[in-house]
């Protein structure tokens, strides 16, 4: 079975928005889907898995359109936000459920179950009741169970959102490891946490109001967002009206990340031509980040975010914005 999946014009109308998705995921790829809550992330997964039925469009997997197949026939694994472990069964029965449906022999089932458990670092958990598992353990069992049916495509619906920060970091690495060790597994991972998406994805799709706004590698998404929405959704930044500067390019807004700004309250050593200079910006706040400070400043009534190694000594500072890192937008869309 081939894990390539082509979603073409997949449509479904909901009271609050209309989902309309076109997206291709290659075999073995790890794609994350991020977007604000209510943008249609989970809905998209439900349409792909067959839990919900589309009004139009195709889902081509392994060369055939599966958009109207029942979920049982799709060969897609899914991990749910609330784990959805079968509460009336123990860990082993959860994991062998799909194997029984595939009519595997007892010995085979046992062996595969043990393999899966050691795969997610839960060896020996066979007889545990699922109600006694911690959140992290339950999520690993859910992951193992999704893999137990040998899917070529794995969907994860905000699998870590109920866990605490440390565990999230640990488990997301584990999810990536599971994906990599399989080799051919195609994974679509829905999250609302952009850092999570940045750290584990091959590519990221940003979804907004039921439509894909941008699909690209994490680096490109961060550095060259296709729209102001993507720019803000993937990290901190400042946008200023273009008429503040004498620019030859036709645009209405410029955008830059905090790290594009150098803040000084004294001399500046560098090629001043490579920078836009804003003098006498008022320092409003300094947020300590560990590796440096995130400064909140005001210039001509506009709020600006900048990164700095030191806490500024005076209440005013001069800002040097690196021109190569400035992005131009017109009507919310990037201008090349």
């Amino acid at each position: 079975m081939n894990g390539t999946i082509d979603i073409i014009g997949l449509r479904k109308a909901y009271p609050s928005f209309t989902l309309d998705i076109t997206l291709s995921v290659r075999q073995g790829e790890f794609l994350s889907v991020i977007g604000p809550s209510g943008s249609g992330k989970s809905t998209m997964l439900n349409l792909i898995s067959g839990l919900d039925e589309p009004e139009a469009g195709k889902i081509i997997a392994d060369g055939r359109d599966i958009a109207h197949l029942p979920p049982q026939k799709r060969g897609i694994g899914m991990v749910f936000q609330d784990y959805a472990l079968f509460s009336n069964m123990n860990v082993e029965k959860n994991l062998t459920y799909a194997m029984k449906l595939r009519k595997l022999h007892r010995a085979q089932r046992r062996q595969q179950c043990d393999e899966l458990l050691s795969f997610v670092n839960l060896s020996g958990y066979n007889k545990r009741k699922v109600t006694t598992l911690s959140g992290g353990e339950a999520q690993r069992v859910a992951l193992a169970r999704a893999l137990s049916a040998r899917p070529s495509i794995l969907l994860l619906d905000e699998p870590l959102s109920a866990l605490d920060a440390n565990l999230r970091r640990h488990l997301r690495d584990e999810i990536r490891r599971v994906h990599d060790e399989d080799g051919t597994l195609t994974t679509i991972y829905v999250t609302h946490d952009r850092e999570e998406a940045f750290s584990i994805s091959d590519r990221i799709a940003i979804i907004r109001d039921g439509r894909i706004e941008m699909v690209d590698s994490p680096e490109n998404i961060y550095r060259h967002p296709s729209s102001l929405f993507c720019a803000y959704f993937t990290g901190e930044g400042t946008s200023l009206p273009a008429q503040m500067f004498n620019l030859s390019i036709d645009c209405d807004t410029i955008f830059f990340r905090p790290e594009a700004v150098t803040v000084t309250d004294g001399c500046f050593y560098g090629d001043a031509d490579a920078y836009l200079i804003l003098e006498n910006a008022e320092v409003l706040s300094a947020e300590f980040l560990g590796r440096g400070y995130l400064l909140g400043l005001r210039y001509n009534g506009h709020r600006i975010l900048a990164e700095s190694q030191q806490r500024p000594h005076s209440t005013s500072a001069t800002l040097y914005i690196r021109k190569t890192q400035m992005l131009m937008f017109k009507d919310g869309l990037a201008v090349k």
Binding site: P71, Q72, G77, F86, L101, A146
Partner: protein, 554 residues
């Protein structure tokens, strides 16, 4: 939560009253069973416990309760499946109708059955007209009739209990099963059904408990010694054979069996955790025509089954069959009821019965609410399981046994005053209503946000002040529901009233019972219609209250 004596103080009064109104009749009852003129004696008990007749009674009582519970649950199950999983127009109405049956007086059901399924009833008239048969099908006064009437009362109970629990389970486990390749049937068998099992079991046990102590249905519809249960036998022995000692001994026996069933029920419902009860509605739009057809057929049958007997009572109240007053349409019974026409016979008590019922029900509901509120506050805030169990005790004692206890008390104090009869009826009703009021209030109190109380304390409000100004006002709609529930229970109560008051205190259901026995069906149906109307008013008020409080919460 701070530990001062406030909650204990407010619980003390209802506990004392409960001890008085519940334990007193019970102990008089026990005393009658264990003491003869010669002093303490086990003779009566030995007789009861060794008599084969007792065990014949027991086995029939168990059998009818088991069959009733099984039939009700099995018929309710497909309906609960459809109702929990699909949206359809009129669903709220159907669910309301089901919970209406919960508070319908059983004597009214008896009447409805006589009118609807009787030899000259609507079903048989239709049958004979359609088939041209000369003889009606005999439905009433048989084992079948008992089961049918119990099913009428309890299918809706099972339906709403199971639908309520099932309808709020998220679908994710079932979804996970489908994605792992399981067919719909397989998912139902290995995922849905095991999750449902405790709910189904506890609903069935609850119905079993109701049917075990069922009284008026068996008394009237069973129609003979052949179909006598423990409860009916206790009543017969005391009120017809006039042997209160033997009746007491029997009631002790019945109490013990009842206790076992109650314990089983409590154990079964303990497994139902409210832990994962989120308010998500799992119902989806109907997709296939097969589901739609199933829904239409099931709902239509349910409507006919539930409304048939009730509507026929209303219709029959306007039909006179008396040769003296002329046949056909007539409002005579209503004129008699409201005193517009002088009446002979039982209908002369009608307006008094209406007033009696209303007055008794209002007093009982007010007291039951107040006591249940204080007890539940104590139970919830002090986490007192023992008081919770004590509050549940009255469920274990059947209303006939309770009535018998009060009957014996009355005989002891040699009081023949009418006021005493009223007082005893009110106390008996109070004991019956209290556990139900508590069951309504406790969940609401338990789900209150305690941080709000803490907030009030930090603002300087005392425990008592916080309780009366914050806690109790927040429970307004739950209190209203408990009040209305108690009102309906008292309004429809016939078992204890019949056993203890010997006809001195005439309430609507009592009058109804007598009118049925004297074959004055038009009069009975008029009283029945009034009871239906009252129940409806009470019920609609309750629904409106829940609705408006629900909207406020959003």
């Amino acid at each position: 939560m701070r530990k001062d004596g406030f909650y204990t103080a407010i619980a003390a009064i209802p506990l004392a009253v409960l001890a008085l109104v519940f334990i007193l009749p019970l102990s008089f009852n026990l005393a009658r069973a264990f003491f003869t003129q010669e002093g303490f004696s086990l003779e009566l008990m030995r007789e009861v416990f060794t008599s084969p007749y007792t065990y014949r009674l027991l086995s029939f009582t168990l059998l009818q309760a088991f069959v009733s519970a099984a039939v009700s649950t099995l018929i309710a199950l497909p309906g609960a499946y459809l109702w929990a999983n699909y949206r359809f127009p009129g669903k709220t109405l159907m669910l309301s109708l089901s919970s209406l049956c919960f508070v319908l007086p059983s004597i009214l059901v008896v009447l409805g059955f006589v009118i609807f399924y009787g030899n000259s009833g609507f079903v048989n008239s239709l049958y004979m007209a359609l088939t041209g048969a000369e003889e009606p099908v005999k439905i009433l006064y048989s084992f079948r009739a008992i089961i049918l009437a119990h099913a009428f009362l309890n299918i809706p109970v099972a339906l709403s209990l199971i639908t309520e629990a099932w309808g709020h389970w998220p679908r994710s486990q079932e979804n996970a099963s489908s994605l792992l390749g399981a067919s719909g049937f397989r998912t139902f068998v290995s995922i849905s059904l095991p999750r449902m099992a405790p709910v189904i079991l506890s609903a069935a046990l609850l119905i079993f408990l109701f049917c075990f102590t069922s009284f008026s249905i068996i008394l009237v519809l069973g129609g003979g010694v052949q179909y006598t249960t423990l409860e009916v036998e206790i009543y017969r022995t005391n009120n017809i054979v006039m042997d209160s000692a033997r009746a007491s001994a029997l009631s002790v026996f019945s109490f013990l069996v009842n206790l076992v069933i109650l314990v089983l029920y409590v154990l079964a419902s303990r497994k139902l955790s409210s832990r994962d009860s989120n308010r998500e509605d799992r119902a989806v739009r109907v997709h296939s025509w097969r589901t739609r057809a199933a829904l239409i057929i099931y709902n239509t049958l349910m409507l006919v089954f539930i409304l048939g007997p009730l509507v026929s009572v209303v219709v029959r109240s306007f039909i006179s069959t008396s040769s003296r007053y002329g046949e056909g349409f007539s409002v005579r019974s209503y004129q008699e009821l409201f005193g517009l026409r002088r009446s002979v016979g039982m209908m002369s008590d009608a307006s008094a019965a209406l007033l009696n019922s209303l007055a008794i029900a209002l007093i009982v509901a007010a007291l039951a609410c107040l006591f249940a509120l204080f007890l539940s506050l104590f139970i919830a805030r002090r986490n007192s399981r023992s008081v919770e169990v004590i509050g549940m005790f009255p469920l274990a004692i059947s209303s006939v046994t309770l009535g018998l206890g009060y009957y014996i008390i009355k005989a002891h104090i040699h009081s023949s005053s009418l006021a005493m009869s009223y007082l005893l009826v009110i106390l008996a009703h109070l004991v019956i209503a209290l556990p139900f009021a508590m069951r309504t209030l406790l969940p609401a109190i338990r789900s209150q946000n305690l941080r709000v109380l803490d907030a009030a304390y930090t603002l300087g409000s005392g425990t008592a002040g916080t309780c009366f100004r914050i806690e109790i006002p927040q429970l307004k709609s739950a209190i209203a529901k408990a009040f209305i529930f108690s009102l309906a229970l008292s309004m429809g109560e016939v078992n204890a009233t019949l056993t203890l008051a010997e006809g001195r205190v005439v309430t609507l259901p009592m009058l109804l019972y007598r009118l049925i026995n004297s074959y004055n069906y038009q009069g009975a149906c008029t009283i029945g219609t009034v009871l239906i109307a009252l129940t409806l008013v009470i019920f609609i008020t309750a629904q409106a209250l829940t609705h408006s409080s629900g909207r406020k919460a959003h």
